[in-house]
C-alpha cells in the first residue's frame, strides 16, 4: 500500500521558478515536476536515448531534500493506439528512484503516433504538439487500463490520470468523461488528477455542465487537483496557464474540497511566460488563496 499522507499546496515547476523556490519556501508544501523537461529525448532509436540536463536535475535533487515531490509527465501518450513507450516508463522509474515521488501522473490523451501506420513501433514518430482527447469508448478503456496496469507494475508509486481539455468534441462517444474515468479507476487501479481548469475550459467552450461532472465523478478516486488560468483565442477559451487562476476555478476548488476533504494535494500551474505578470508576490498570493480554501475543508 502507498502512503495516504496529505501534501497540501504545491507548485508545478517551471524555469521561471528557481528564485521563488529559494526565497519563498514557506508558501508551498511540495513541488511537482515535469520529468520530460529534465532530459533531451532523442527518440526511441536514440542511443543513449535520454540525455539528462544535469544542471536542472541537480537543482531538483537539492529541492527534493527540502520538499516532497510529485511527477507529472507529458510524454507518455497513453491513449495512442499504435504506440506504447515502455522506454519512457522505465525512464520515469529511474527518476522516481532518484527523487522519490509521492505519486506519478500523466494525461488521459494522446499526442504521439507513427509517421507511417504500417511501420508502427519501428519507424519514426510524429507528435501532435497538443494533447488530444481519446474517444470515451469501451475499446479505448480496455487499451488504457492495460497500460495503466503495466505502469503501476513498473513504477513503485501511485499513478493518476488527468482529465483532458479538448477544443473539437468527438461525437457519438459510448460514455461520458466522468463515467469513463470512474470505470478506468475501477478496472485499472489508477487515481484521478482532477484539473479544474480543464473542466472549466470544456464548460466554457462546449457548454458541458461542471455540476453534472462533479456529481457523476466518483470523488473517492481523486487524489490531486490542478488549478490554473487561461485566455481567449479565436473565440475559444484556452488552457494556456496564463497568469492567475481563473475566478470560477476558485469556486470549483471550494466546492470540490468541501465534498472531498480527503484530496491530498492542490497544485497551482502557470506558464513561465506569465512570470512577469505574476511576479513573486503574485505567485505567493495564488498559493495563499489555495491554502485558505484548503484549510477551510481539509
Amino acid at each position: 500500500m502507498y502512503s495516504e499522507q496529505k501534501l497540501g499546496i504545491g507548485l508545478l515547476f517551471n524555469p521561471a521558478l528557481p528564485q521563488f523556490l529559494e526565497t519563498r519556501p514557506e508558501s508551498f508544501d511540495y513541488l511537482e515536476v515535469i520529468p520530460d523537461r529534465e532530459w533531451a529525448d532523442r527518440g526511441v532509436h536514440g542511443s543513449p536515448r535520454f540525455l539528462l540536463l544535469e544542471q536542472s536535475l541537480e537543482f531538483l535533487e537539492r529541492s527534493r531534500e527540502r520538499k516532497p515531490m510529485l511527477c507529472h509527465s507529458i510524454g507518455l501518450s497513453i491513449g495512442s493506439a499504435a504506440i506504447f513507450d515502455s522506454g519512457h516508463v522505465e525512464q520515469i522509474r529511474w527518476l522516481h528512484q532518484k527523487l522519490d515521488f509521492a505519486w506519478h501522473s500523466d494525461h488521459l490523451s494522446f499526442s504521439r503516433l507513427p509517421q507511417d501506420l504500417a511501420a508502427a513501433g519501428n519507424g519514426p514518430e510524429m507528435h501532435a504538439a497538443i494533447s488530444l482527447p481519446v474517444p470515451y469508448d469501451q475499446q479505448v478503456l480496455q487499451l488504457i487500463a492495460e497500460r495503466v496496469r503495466y505502469i503501476r507494475a513498473v513504477i513503485d508509486c501511485q499513478f493518476l490520470l488527468e482529465n483532458n481539455v479538448y477544443y473539437a468534441a468527438i461525437p457519438e462517444e459510448e460514455m461520458s468523461e466522468a463515467e469513463f474515468l470512474n470505470r478506468l479507476c475501477q478496472v485499472s487501479g489508477c487515481g484521478i488528477l482532477l484539473d479544474l481548469h480543464n473542466l472549466y475550459v470544456n464548460s466554457r467552450n462546449h457548454g458541458i455542465s461542471m455540476e453534472a461532472f462533479l456529481r457523476d465523478i466518483d470523488l473517492r478516486h481523486i487524489v490531486e487537483i490542478h488549478v490554473a488560468g487561461g485566455d481567449e483565442l479565436l473565440g475559444f477559451y484556452t488552457d494556456s496557464h496564463a497568469g492567475p487562476v481563473a475566478e470560477p476555478v476558485w469556486e470549483l476548488l471550494d466546492e470540490t474540497l468541501r465534498a472531498a476533504p480527503w484530496i491530498r494535494a492542490v497544485t497551482f500551474e502557470f506558464h513561465e511566460s506569465s512570470y512577469p505578470l505574476l511576479k513573486t508576490e503574485g505567485i505567493a498570493a495564488q498559493l495563499a488563496r489555495a491554502r485558505r480554501i484548503w484549510e477551510r475543508h481539509c
Binding site: 533531451a40 497538443i130 474517444p135 461525437p171
Partner: protein, 223 residues
C-alpha cells in the same frame, strides 16, 4: 484496429489546414485509404468542420514554434516576416518526432542552412547568427563527453568551447538583435572569431584577435 487510423487522420487535420480542407471537400477519398468503421468516418467528418479545429491548429503551431524560439531567438527575429513561409515549408517536410529543444533546434538549423545554400533564402547575417545560436544550444544541452564524441566538435579545443567565425563584427550585431533591433548599418566586415566558453554555469563570450584565434584553434590549453 480502426482507432489508429482515426488518430492518424485527427492529427493530420490539426497539422495541416490544407489536409483538413481536402477532407471536408471529399472525405471518402481520404477515408478509402484507411481502415475506418462507419462511426469513425462520421466522427472525423463532424470534427473536420468543428470550429475548435482551428484552435487545435493554432496551439499545434505555437507549440512547434516554442523550441525554435527558445533556442534560435535571434535567428527567428532576423528572419522576420520570412519566418512564416519558412515554417510552413519546414513543418510540411518535417513532422516533428518530439518537442525536445536540441533536436528541434538542430533540425531547423539544417533546414535553414539548406535554404541558404540552395539560394531560396538570401540574407547576409542569418548563416552566422544561426551557427552561433546552434553552438550555444549544443554547449548548453550536451555534456563534455557527448560534445567530444561529435564529429563537428573543433578537435583542438576543449569540448565545452567553440570558436565561431563571423563575417561581420559579432558584438554590435548580436547586441542589436538581442534588443530586437535590426543589424546596425555599416557593420564592420571581415574575419571575426567569437569564442563561446561554456565550461562554467554561465557561458563566457570573447572576441578574439586573429593571432589569438589561430593560437586557440591550434592549442587545447590556450584558454
Amino acid at each position: 484496429m480502426a482507432l489508429d487510423a482515426f488518430q492518424d487522420i485527427f492529427c493530420r487535420m490539426i497539422a495541416s489546414a490544407d489536409y483538413r480542407a481536402r477532407l471536408i471537400d471529399n472525405p471518402e477519398a481520404e477515408f478509402d485509404q484507411h481502415d475506418l468503421d462507419a462511426r469513425e468516418k462520421r466522427r472525423l467528418t463532424a470534427m473536420a468542420s468543428h470550429p475548435g479545429m482551428r484552435i487545435n491548429t493554432a496551439i499545434h503551431r505555437a507549440n512547434r514554434l516554442t523550441p525554435l524560439d527558445q533556442t534560435l531567438p535571434l535567428t527567428c527575429f532576423l528572419l522576420g516576416s520570412r519566418l512564416g513561409a519558412l515554417l510552413d515549408r519546414y513543418w510540411h517536410c518535417n513532422p516533428t518526432e518530439n518537442l525536445q529543444l536540441p533536436a528541434e533546434c538542430a533540425r531547423f538549423a539544417d533546414f535553414i542552412v539548406d535554404e541558404l545554400q540552395s539560394g531560396r533564402l538570401a540574407d547576409p547575417f542569418v548563416g552566422e547568427v544561426l551557427a552561433f545560436e546552434r553552438a550555444c544550444t549544443e554547449l548548453r544541452f550536451f555534456s563534455a563527453e557527448e560534445l567530444a564524441s561529435r564529429t563537428e566538435t573543433q578537435p583542438r579545443l576543449p569540448a565545452k568551447v567553440r570558436v565561431l567565425h563571423f563575417q561581420h563584427d559579432p558584438e554590435p550585431l548580436l547586441e542589436a538583435l538581442s534588443e530586437l533591433k535590426p543589424p546596425p548599418e555599416n557593420l564592420a566586415e571581415g574575419d571575426f572569431h567569437l569564442a563561446v566558453d561554456a565550461r562554467s554555469d554561465e557561458a563566457v563570450f570573447r572576441l578574439l584577435d586573429p593571432v589569438a584565434a589561430a593560437a586557440l584553434l591550434g592549442s587545447r590549453n590556450a584558454l
